[in-house]
Symmetry: C2
Subunit: 159 residues, 2 copies
DNA sequence: AGACAACGACAACTATGTTGTCTATCTTGG
DNA sequence: CCAAGATAGACAACATAGTTGTCGTTGTCT
């Protein structure tokens, strides 16, 4: 009780990490060893309509150069495809590959399983309350995921 | 309602970022422009008893080399002092400087203010509930802060 | 005394970000 | 209808984290 401000921040970081670490480890176990959380977020942004590197950069609040490099990695690993845009010769249209789609589905499934585990741990009412309070505080606007670094690391091994 | 697993993770990330971004910006405004969240965490670990680079590395779940570099930065910026340990010639004893102490105090105050803002926004009962639920889920064990990258970035400018 | 462990330093590498510059291409307004 | 400006993507240089591996010095323990 009477927790301090810093503790509150750390609690939320802990919750986030707890989920993301577990999800990353599980993804690795299912054969997606080359995926970092950052890649998942980028892929989601592409799925949500960021169909060019520059646009992806905007959505992730990152420079287009950084976005282009993330795209290059994703392409190299077979999660997205880049095709020339027939309507605009400057652009390379991004498309999620089949492998990318199954990755997204798998990731979503894993997160949902983790959420279910939490639900069993504390009960549906409390989980709903947690989500409701967080939503009230953080808002419903999309969270910025311009989150380089540890989000980008392979956390599975370090546990 | 019926939020998904990924959303839950993002909500907690959002909450954490919201606090940390605001705190970093406020610290910068108060004259601590060269401080990243990572530095604050490291300083707290040193204050909590990590009095050598290797020990700091252990506490932050990071290699001693990485810890030594963080220490070097903190020393360069005047937040910690390194003195030869009279009892062990291999070690450099870490001590938080006066400036470091005031930084820690200031940071703590800012986080507490932010927490108070949240309290006013949603009411003390809900905040207590939030903390209680998170504690139940995340546990009381210290959260690992081996969090390179965006935690280390100067988030104040990018808002 | 000798074997082993630990501290801190150095070097090389990875991953992600940034700014700045450049070319090619689109768009728009006089 | 063409010149000026905006935008897409690429390249290069650099910053800030992290990692592994190696090494010399110093403690510790049998």
């Amino acid at each position: 009780m009477s927790r301090s401000g810093p503790d509150l921040a750390l609690l939320m970081l802990g919750g986030f990490r707890s989920l993301v670490d577990a999800a990353t480890a599980e993804l690795a176990a299912r054969g997606y060893e080359d995926v970092r959380p950052l890649h998942d977020f980028a892929l989601r942004a592409i799925a949500a309509g960021a169909d060019s590197a520059s646009e992806l950069g905007r959505r992730m609040s990152v420079t287009k150069q950084a976005a282009a490099r993330t795209v290059a990695v994703l392409e190299e690993r077979g999660y997205v495809e880049r095709n020339a845009d027939p309507a605009d010769a400057r652009r390379m249209r991004l498309q999620i590959s089949e492998r990318g789609v199954t990755l997204l589905r798998t990731g979503e499934g894993i997160f949902n399983e983790l959420r279910k585990q939490w639900e069993q741990q504390i009960g549906p009412a409390k989980l709903a309350e947690l989500e409701s309070i967080l939503t009230e505080l953080v808002g419903v606007q999309p969270v910025r995921v311009d989150t380089p670094g540890w989000l980008a690391r392979d956390l599975g091994e370090t546990i």
